[in-house]
Amino acid sequence: MNRRLFPLLTAVSLLLFVTAPIIIVRAPYESTMGLVQKIFYFHFPAWMAMFLSIFVLGIASVIYLFGRKPTADRLAVAAAELATIFGLMGLVTGPLWGVKAWGVWWQWDARLTMAVILELILVAYLLLRQYGGAGADRLAAGLGIFAMANVPFLYISTEIWRTVHPRTSVVPTLPIDFGLPLWWSFTGFIVLCLALLSARSRLEEQRSTLERLYQALEED
């Protein structure tokens, strides 16, 4: 699956990314925030890709913890790394937008706080896998499940806390001129996410093959 899918996914995501600037540039100017609002076309899809990765992580962790399927574990590691990467993109593009739109680099409102927390959980996951020693795969699976379970609290909190962040519900009401570049970039990011997931899982697969061969060598 990986060998055929990865070039295809890479090609599609590349196509989307390369054409995105054209489409973004032709999108109308947003009246209150002007040019800098166009960061939104990368910022929002990056966060969505991160959420997708976190859900993949959570579900793969459940499958691995209860079903013991090695592919699930590999997918979980890949998803965790990707979620960290996309989260990093979101955390970098966000302040760059915010410093212009809100006047401050950072604010501890609910959405931003939870974004940082999620990123911390993911880094904790990666640290656990790296330094947890033997059996860290199962422990990390447990942590992955908790990471996914924390996500709904992020969405709930924006409805309850007063926040300067644009409400989630603004997205479906975007006029088509804004909508097209957004969904274009969104698709590009999701496809990129899938491509990277498959590449990273393949790396894990190769590593475990290597492990097995080393062990076979030891036994002789």
Partner: protein, 92 residues
């Protein structure tokens, strides 16, 4: 993998250029779009922020792809090595 990286780098170089070239006339004049009543010279220019944001996204993507490529290379080299050793062991 190397081809993918090379093409991504080319796209990376192309994207911000397109964005910069397509700015509206008034932005080209003083480098930003005024948003409200704050005097123009006290505002941050938006274009560098936009370019920085897109560049960051591209840089992170390419950086990550590169780390995957490097790790994959190491693992494949070790795999080739160990396959050879198993084969040698099998022969002896």
């Amino acid at each position: 993998m190397a081809v993918a990286l090379a093409v991504y780098c080319a796209a990376f170089a192309w994207a911000p250029t397109t964005l910069l070239a397509a700015q509206p006339p008034e932005a080209a004049q003083d480098g930003f779009v005024p948003m409200d009543e704050i005097p123009a010279d006290e505002q941050l220019p938006a274009a560098p922020l936009l370019v920085a944001a897109y560049s960051a996204v591209w840089a992170i993507t390419i950086g990550y792809l590169w780390t995957i490529w490097r790790r994959l290379g190491t693992v494949e080299r070790e795999l080739a090595d160990i396959t050879r050793r198993v084969a040698d062991r099998g022969q002896s």
